[in-house]
């Protein structure tokens, strides 16, 4: 939130409803340089639609009572931009080779359950399973 903007709006008699950040809730704070196409997935659309439904329920009573409602948003954002959004169908991430910076670690959860049963299908049915390396 931008403090001078909040002060100005309060001074003009506006109440504020902060909209949740769909990107933070979906991908966390360590996301980097996403573009519209990367967010544009079925699950992300579902996530945004659910937020929009909840927010509209909060706003509706004010609208019905004649309040002046103004939506403030970022000028540019991959999925929340009011005027512009970053877009590139070929974009895959940071603009350099990341292979040197990545480290592999064992995944603890995989070893915590043992493989039991005669077949993979049965093991999956019983919830007792382990991951095999590809």
């Amino acid at each position: 939130m931008i403090a001078p903007l909040i002060e100005m709006l309060h001074g003009a008699g506006y109440e504020l409803l902060q909209l949740p950040c769909p990107e933070t809730a979906f991908t966390g704070v360590s996301r980097w340089w996403f573009v519209y196409e990367q967010y544009d997935s079925v699950n992300y659309r579902r996530h945004c639609a659910r937020i929009a439904r909840a927010v509209s329920k909060l706003v509706k009573p004010y609208s019905e009572n004649g309040y002046d409602i103004v939506l403030l948003g970022l000028g540019i954002s991959p999925s929340c931009g009011v005027r512009m959004r970053q877009t590139n169908k070929q974009w895959r991430g940071r603009p350099f080779d990341v292979s040197d910076g990545l480290r592999s670690k064992p995944v603890a959860a995989c070893g915590s359950r043992s493989w039991r049963g005669p077949s993979r299908e049965k093991a999956l049915d019983t919830g007792s399973w382990t991951c095999l390396p590809c």
Partner: protein, 99 residues
């Protein structure tokens, strides 16, 4: 590219957004997250909305950032939000609005 995101977050009840207390946090470089008055929502929707805010707080904490929740005993949504954080085992710093 300079990362402009704030590295500290304060969570407040909706009607305290413009208070001097919150302004003080903003001056110290805190980002602000609001717990709005959710009385217009059904139980499930209100719970979902609080979860959404808790999701963001969880991501901030996971990232090692300082999160302060300004506890307002009179605000039931704030109380419910705090119990949600507790159930998730999230270590946010809780301060009373009267402090």
């Amino acid at each position: 590219m300079k990362d402009l995101r704030q590295r500290k977050m304060v969570v407040v009840s909706g009607d305290r957004l413009g208070s001097d207390l919150v302004k003080g946090y903003v001056d110290e470089g805190f980002g602000v997250a609001q717990i709005p008055d959710l009385k217009e929502l059904s139980g499930n929707s209100a719970d979902y909305y609080l979860s959404l805010i808790a999701d963001q707080v969880q991501e901030f904490i996971k990232d090692g950032q300082q999160v302060v929740v300004l506890k307002d005993k009179e605000d039931r949504w704030c109380r419910r939000f705090l119990s949600k954080l507790r159930r998730r085992g999230l270590a946010a710093e809780v301060k009373s609005v009267s402090e």
